[in-house]
Symmetry: C2
Subunit: 414 residues, 2 copies
């Protein structure tokens, strides 16, 4: 493969994570130090920055400051949720992207995101091939939801799982302190896949966690839920429940949206979400003191509680994307191949065609969930436990996190 | 003062914190190693354990395991919210307490809690004096609310403040990632005093925090709130707000309870609390994308993000209580005297009469809040910043917290 000289663009897309900036750093540092890549441009708010010609010159950043991206949550370059049209229907955006690529002689495009971002990546790659513009396009995976196909796991998931497990352990202690009854419902992200809510089982495995866990992989039954909780509450005076925000009835309706449904019959108005609603239902049914807790954004941005392994792997994914592209690869997503053999865990990068990664949601295998559909089996623990390992020394100032402060100098020259 | 030989009881009461067990450990270790104290008994669920004769023999615990209490959140001995009657009206409980004290020859009583617990302590102390039973009674302060009178600050507050500041910084990054508008409302504990919500200002001070902060010390005005948020949102496209759960209108009604009030006119049903309600109001008024986040129990149990200084001071308070009691003191609460002189911070223990500590809520000084009542002034930062200092090495197993596992052997012998 002949050497391809030119600029690169790195963009970040979709919901941020605690480690997406570590992946971006892996791309940026590797690209800055790579002879083939002449300029490293950061897209402001993902593909929107390309369309709007808002590109940061990453060589203007202080290299030491840049390194703090490893521990800075959320997307340092900005993110977007912009979905490109089907190019056969409307190729306006693609023409514009090509125009910008030509303007800056962009020959490498790295896109850091989840399902939708891999779709964006794939569409751009196919379009550039079609119009004969040589450009190597690589996807760098990211999603706390862990639902990307073709990879053992996704950067971002492991840190969210660690925060969820740690927080559930702490909340469990707090929710068991009184000599009076108490039911606690913890709501965890994950609209279609239950990887995050399932990770609450790590807390239970460690001795202090939910008694019951409900994932979207199993149809939710309100009567069964009430019976499950009541049985444990009546026996122990306490019950802790973890639910995925995406739990739904057999007909597909989200439980969180079924507030006025005639089927569940509770008719609760709700602003505070699923945890509050379920807690209120349990309160009515059992008379128990209840508390609904929504982990909300905290679970995806808690870099102070990130998995060191996740941070390192996220970086590795970004680095591998640049190295592979420079070596001639294109149209691929960086994936992780993992072997778990007792205490031995090894994770290496692999390249998967963008086609198989985009637009497919990987679910938790049914056999990793118990038969009753209200708990997690050991294979899930064996899967996730290695991912949360490793301690950090997060850079701090005054005992508060010290985030990367980027200059974000917009590129003006051609 | 002559030496007083006898058993001691340590009880924990009220809402738990990340460091209340560090105070209990300070009491237990000091008492176990003290010649005058013949037995160390832990009360199950505070004063309830005394009334129910449920007392743990702390000498049965493994000393190394016990040390993990330093990093274990919530109340390891169990807590209660039991309020003793006025002994002049009903002395049933006091007679029972005296009976138990006599049964085990209890001559030292250490009670670890907030306002109500200092009241309990005070009543027991006065009763024992009245009936002529020699017993030294000491309060060990604890409350995330930081509203105890007579002390510079309370163990538990500093760690909660650190978690709040850290989380607000992380949420700020997450809430500013998109190129679209967003208003985020973070709800923080504190029913009557705004110390915790005010601590969110540390995040702003560090560069990434709320634009607006509302404390219960200033009457809340919904129209003013909407105007404040709208002004910032219109200017920057984003707005982050921190509110104390205890914000109230001028007539004293809590905003969180005013859901059907004719005065605010919004008529929102709410289960999920204040943050969700305020976010919804802003959404209706501005059309902005909104998110309400309630830090809930996480803020008081997040021992993984505790302040090392808080943990050490909490231990010191417990230790000082035992040392003072053995030296002859009684009827006192351990308080902190602090000098803040630039980077120099010193904290020493002092003893304050229980009378002045109980049943009085210390508020944030009005001059530490800005004139508009929607932000925090520098003196608050100068006050709280030293308290959150110090890094921990929290003991872990499999990269998850390793909490103290106590045997809790009930005392059977007299």
């Amino acid at each position: 493969m002949s050497e391809l000289k030119g600029a690169c663009i790195i963009g970040q897309s979709g919901g941020p994570t605690a480690v997406i900036n570590s992946s971006a750093l892996g791309v940026i540092e590797t690209a800055l130090d790579c002879g083939s890549i002449t300029r490293v441009l950061g897209a402001a708010h993902g593909i929107r920055g390309v369309l709007d010609d808002k590109l940061y010159d990453m060589s203007q950043e202080d290299r030491e400051e840049l390194k703090l991206m490893r521990y800075t949550p959320s997307s340092a370059l900005g993110s977007c949720r912009y979905k490109l049209a089907d190019p056969d229907v409307d190729d306006t955006d693609y023409k514009r992207i090509l125009e910008i690529f030509k303007k800056y002689d962009v020959r490498y495009f790295f896109y850091n995101g989840g399902n939708d971002s891999m779709d964006t990546c794939n569409k751009i790659s196919k379009y550039m091939q079609k119009v004969g513009y040589e450009c190597r396009v690589m996807g760098v995976p990211k999603t706390i939801d862990n639902d990307l196909n073709g990879t053992d796991h996704c950067p971002g998931f492991s840190s969210a799982a660690k925060f969820i497990a740690t927080s559930c352990m702490e909340v469990h202690r707090d929710a068991h302190v009184y000599d009076t009854g108490m039911v606690t419902v913890v709501e965890i992200m994950g609209r279609h896949a239950g990887w995050l809510a399932g990770s609450a089982a790590l807390a239970t495995w460690a001795g202090y966690g939910p008694d019951l866990i409900y994932l979207p992989e199993v149809d939710f039954d309100m009567d069964k839920f009430i019976a499950d909780v009541t049985a444990i509450y009546n026996k122990t005076g306490k019950c802790m429940v973890a639910v995925s925000e995406g739990i739904h009835y057999a007909d597909g309706r989200f439980v969180s949206e079924a507030k006025t449904s005639a089927t569940d019959g509770f008719g609760h108005a709700q602003l505070g979400g699923l945890a509050a609603m379920l807690a209120e239902i349990i309160k009515e049914k059992t008379g128990a003191k209840v508390r609904g807790i929504e982990l909300s954004l905290l679970q995806r941005c808690a870099s102070h509680c990130a998995s060191a392994r996740d941070i390192n792997e996220a970086y590795m994914a970004g680095q591998a994307a640049v190295e592979a592209a420079v070596a001639g690869e294109t149209d691929k997503m960086v994936a992780f191949d993992v072997t778990r053999d007792g205490a031995n865990y090894t994770c290496t990068t692999a390249l998967k065609p963008l086609d198989i990664c985009a637009n497919f949601e990987k679910k938790v295998p049914r056999e990793w969930i118990n038969a009753e559909g209200n708990g997690i089996e050991q294979p899930f623990i064996d899967y996730v436990l290695p991912l949360i390992q490793g301690e950090l020394n997060v850079p701090q100032e005054n005992s508060l996190p010290r985030f990367a402060k980027l200059k974000k100098v917009l590129t003006t020259e051609m």
